[in-house]
Amino acid sequence: MTSSLNLWLIPVLPLAGAAINGFLGKRSSRTAVSTIGLVFPGAAFAWALSVAFRFSSLPQIPYQEYVAHWIRSGSFSVDFALYLDQLSLVMLLVVTGVGFLIHIYSVGYMWDDPSYYRFFSYLNLFMFFMLTLVLANNYLVMFIGWEGVGLASYLLIGFWFTKDSAASAGKKAFIVNRIGDFGFLIGLFLIIQHFGSLNFVEVFDQVRPITPETAGAGLLTAIGILLMVGACGKSAQIPLYVWLPDAMEGPTPVSALIHAATMVTAGVYMVSRSHMVFERAPMSLTVVAIIGTLTALFAATIGIAQTDIKKVLAYSTVSQLGYMFMACGVGAFSAGIFHLMTHAFFKGLLFLAAGSVIHAVGGEQDMRKMGGLRSYIPWTFLTMLIATLAIAGIPPLAGFWSKDEILWKAFSSEHGSWVYWLIGVITAFITSFYMFRLLFMTFFGDYRGIQVDERGKVHSAHGPDDHAHGEPHESPMVMLIPLMILAFLSLVGGLVGIHNGFEHFLAPVFGAAEVAHGAGETSTGSTELLLMGVSVTVAFAGAILAWVLYVSKPYLPQKVADALNGLYVAVLNKYYIDELYATLFVKPLVEGSTRILWHGVDQKIIDDSINDAADGARHVSDEVRQMQSGNLRSYAGWIAAGSALVIAYMIWFGVGR
């Protein structure tokens, strides 16, 4: 290949930024830190854009770039090498683009934080690992990025580590992710064992001839399910979703970047990247679809009753990720990636706008203490409105196109079923309802926040917003501009999906099956229109219901809650899943570790055996020490006795000749 794209620059640039800020940032001024922290990801974004412009003229797609060799062991080899095709290009642009916008936003949001430089260092580090994950040409380099984003996520969730809840939320995220990574790793081992390589091209070349009828299909099912376990951890799906809502302890830009727009979609990316495996193992596809569908519905219902503005968004993220897996599970990978992209726009925007709201009301996150903010922070309101319309699936905003695509595929694809579609539509209704509930509780009605003096509230112990606070105030321009750009993207981002444009763009990656499927759509066009009508109707219905309950008749929600007492309490407490896990897994583990491993094995066996050995040695020494009295005659006596013994031995047994 004559012209190199120098792809390696894209991940390395943020790494350089992370290193500079991490090592030198403490002594630099805030301006210097923000310059470094913005220029490097900005340059990565610019480079990604230039790569995108040159993409169509590439002589060969997928384009591969060799950076350095890493492991060479017999016939097995793993290189640091990069891989660019339509799929990774989309991810690349989303990660660098949305990531860069969120970096800009963070300048405003984190300005007053004492660890400003640390924040940008971590954020850039995250970008490095995420780009490594996206650009890897084999599973092992992908795994580096995979673990690296987990690390960055841990560091950033626990960013305010002096707060106990933040520190434990970070640990929870890390540990739950380990469970998923365990599955991912076993999947990789199976791949190595049976295909002797981790390189995407080589593995998929070997997977291609396998069909569900041939012998290797069971193996592919195992690999697929194990990879899905990994994706469940990273992308917060049932049963490993519990860490994501807690991860909201991190600063809001982190929630936007890592826990909404990019990192949590890594699982979707990985499953899509491995589509060759999943397509040939229908059972693992079904597993993906069921997990995704259930998660979508389950998380959405929890979102209804949450009162913390970020928790609502967190459950919404889990639910939307469920949609993406539903799409992957019915074989509509491009629809999943499409939703991933639009979701990055509008969910990133929702989180940033929520951050702006939190900023405006002085660190308060409880929606019951907000309200009426529309007139105080009009720009935030406008952008949040756009994002809400987008996620609710109101045409022609971004979310409508991608969600409708998923629902249609769930209904019509050969792996799909009307059950998925029905649950998806119900979820869409709930999504629309809780998002408009959030919007109405926050921006409509009267301001319920208690002003200035009463600052000892539970959620107000936040770093950046601890300044003395009067009326809610609009955020600075540096925070508003990213909001506006993302709002624009949420408005028009879905238009690339018209006439299956996005699907055709990704077709070289996901194979001809889907394009052929696309051709069949004309015959079922009326069905598609009908289903589209249904999903738009439920979106509006959700919005109207929220309007009735939270704006026109604000006394109703309490009545409904009272009427559905048991159910409401269960939903409010997130179905007691955390408690269930605590009883089922955490407590037995902690108890077992304490009783058996700590008190039993460690203290009783290991410590005691060592202490006993030492005590025994001391006792023996105490006895033997008596011999060395320092008394000359006793020494002489020992010598004489010893000689007598030796001589007696020689007399009785001879000299041993």
């Binding site: 320092g630 008394n631 000359l632 005659r633 002489a636 006596g637 004489a640």
Partner: protein, 100 residues
Amino acid sequence: MVPLSYYLVLSGILFACGVTGFLIKRNIITIFMSIELMLNGVNLSFVAFAAHWHALAGQIFVFFVMVVAAAESAVGLAIIIAVYRTRETLNVDQVNLLKL
């Protein structure tokens, strides 16, 4: 001719006397004399064997032992005098400054 065993028995008795004296006496001069007694007990057995086997090696050993014993007496007595001058005692149990 006196049999070899007589010499050896006498040698053993001398040696045993030396060991016993060394072990039970506290006076350093007596201990010294006991050492000489042991050496001479050994010397006697050397000479007896040399005479018995008609080999000269035993007698040569005796000369060596006597030379070493003489040197040892010279050094030892000098040390004893030095000790007596500083400590005014010849009891070994009281000469214990180097003990822990």
